[in-house]
């Protein structure tokens, strides 16, 4: 009897997601270094070069990097969606995305349009390849799970994010930073479309699997992602056509959809079957509270017409919401994938279970707990940075402190992921020798 859990034809090797997971903390450390040594006002003004650099290090280098890697492994493993030529595609996307991000960051920091052109060109190629492969694979899948709808809308949102970036840079002589009316749309599709929709799609799978909760209600799985997508279309329409009423409809849809997701997930956590709490559980709880907080803060800023509130909302959303959920997810999916791949290796060698470490041995809880604490310190400091303006040099010291905490938390994440990979490699080598 064939007892392997995954058919080899549809299982990308572990290196497919790991190359993305191991690159992401490096960009996080770079962002921390910029906060530490970037001088005054790194995060004071959304249009400053340093702010733009930090934001794109986090969004392109950390969050997108992890999500692109995770999707290429989770779709085949959890949903049975087959990604064609997965290893080759993964290598190409990783190279294009990493080099493209580096060139864009260099172009922004040095005011060199040529680097921006090349950087965005490579990112565009990576995006087209990634989105094309994912949509092709989804179209061939038999599954009707809500995750697939959410992933499809997320990757289409990534295309819109890219499109607005091209539009902004093309109309500005390929120079950044630029005060441009389309920046808000570029940001909305990136944050609420690409990141949020993908997080929602992943949550439908990983929350019940790893947090021992009931499944998300069917209505939420079916309609939430399309609703957010429609909200983003209306938001774009209102911005481009200058229709105020349409903007309010879009805001009502987006704010209630995000709040609904957070409330449903927090409720599911309360209904979990086992009253155990681990780092992933706590990370997701923090993420949902941050998500709710960011929607309220953003709404207040929008009503008051005060951009500082809205900028704070973006920081809370990104670093408290998306980064927390992504970090929590990594601490579950990496051990799970290591276990799954080792298990398959043993079984294809004709052994049952063999010497496969269990998931809690791949990443010990005490390691991830310490990483969580440091990341929460960095989040806390980031949130209070706006208060630093009331004290002499306050913002500067707080930004530097946040930088130190970022460097520490991303270094810890990198070390933990490297340990997990080395555990996989040592068991796999022992099996090959045997």
């Amino acid at each position: 009897m064939n007892i392997a859990f995954l058919s080899l034809a549809q299982t990308p090797p572990l290196s497919v997601p790991m190359r993305f997971f191991l690159t992401a903390p490096l960009f996080g450390i770079a962002a921390g270094l910029l906060l530490l040594f970037g001088g005054d006002g790194v995060l004071d003004n959304r249009w400053s070069i340093n702010t733009l650099l930090v934001v794109h290090m986090v969004t392109l280098g950390v969050l997108s990097m992890v999500m692109i890697g995770a999707l290429q492994q989770l779709l085949p493993v959890l949903m049975g969606v087959v990604i064609p030529r997965s290893n080759m595609v993964s290598r190409a996307i990783h190279l294009l995305w990493s080099v493209g991000t580096l060139l864009l960051l260099a172009g922004i920091s040095q005011h060199l349009p040529i680097l921006n052109r090349f950087g965005v060109g490579l990112l565009a190629l990576a995006t087209l390849l990634f989105v094309g492969v994912i949509l092709y694979a989804l179209a061939r899948s038999d599954s009707k799970h809500g995750t697939l709808i959410a992933v499809a809308t997320a990757v289409i949102s990534l295309l819109f994010t890219l499109l607005f970036m091209l539009w902004i840079l093309n109309s500005s002589g390929w120079l950044a930073p630029v005060v441009h009316p389309l920046t808000n749309l570029h940001m909305s599709w990136g944050l609420l479309g690409w990141f949020m929709l993908l997080l929602i799609g992943a949550a439908y799978q990983v929350v019940p699997m790893f947090q021992i909760t009931p499944e998300f209600p069917i209505a939420v799985r079916r309609f939430l992602a399309p609703l957010i997508f429609v909200g983003l279309l209306l938001w774009s329409g209102s911005d481009l056509l200058q229709l105020v009423w349409m903007g309010w409809v879009a805001i009502a849809i987006l704010v209630s959809a995000l709040a609904l997701f957070a409330v449903v997930l927090l409720r599911l956590q309360l209904q979990r079957k086992r009253r155990l709490s681990d780092v992933t559980f706590t990370y997701w709880r923090v993420a949902m509270v941050a998500l709710l907080t960011s929607t309220v803060v953003w709404l207040v800023g929008y009503i008051l017409g005060d951009s500082r509130w809205m900028e704070s909302a973006v920081v809370i959303f990104l670093m408290g919401g998306i980064l927390s959920a992504v970090s929590g997810m990594l601490f579950k999916i990496v051990p799970f994938l290591v276990w799954l791949h080792l298990n398959n290796l043993y079984q294809s060698a004709g052994e049952w279970q063999g010497n496969v470490p269990n998931v809690r041995q791949v990443i010990p809880e005490r390691y991830s707990r310490w990483q969580f604490r440091v990341q929460m310190v960095s989040l806390g400091i980031l949130v209070v940075i706006p208060l630093g303006q009331f004290v002499d040099q306050g913002s500067r010291y707080l930004t530097q402190a946040a930088g130190i905490a970022w460097i520490a938390s991303f270094t810890m994440l990198l070390v933990i992921l490297l340990l997990a990979r080395s555990k996989y490699q040592s068991v796999a080598r022992a099996l090959n020798r045997g």
């Binding site: 009897m1 064939n2 058919s7 599954s143 019940p208 021992i212 499944e215 069917i218 079957k273």
Partner: protein, 92 residues
């Protein structure tokens, strides 16, 4: 015909998968396995297909996911499973 019960609704991944496959490896030909889980075990279907099992997935009265699994080549087990699930709600 024997009905073998397996409740995996309180296990964290990958425990439910391990327990389900262990039970399936020992499933006698004239029996069927009734699995109760909090979510649809998507990963199990590929395993079932490749190893010659027949499965029906339904929503139980408690709202949990219920799977009825037997050997595909044993007609009387399949007939019994179809009879059992005919009035149950579909999972999705």
């Amino acid at each position: 015909m024997n009905r073998i019960e397996l409740d995996i609704s309180e296990g964290e991944a990958p425990e439910p998968l391990i327990r389900a496959t262990e039970a399936l490896q020992q499933l006698p030909e004239d029996s069927y396995l009734h699995i109760t889980h909090r979510m649809e075990p998507c990963r199990l279907y590929d395993y079932l297909e490749r190893n010659g099992f027949y499965v029906e997935t339904r929503r139980g009265e408690s709202g949990l996911c219920e799977l009825f699994i037997g050997h595909d080549r044993i007609d009387k087990v399949k007939t019994e499973i179809v009879r059992l699930v005919k009035d149950m709600a579909r999972w999705d």
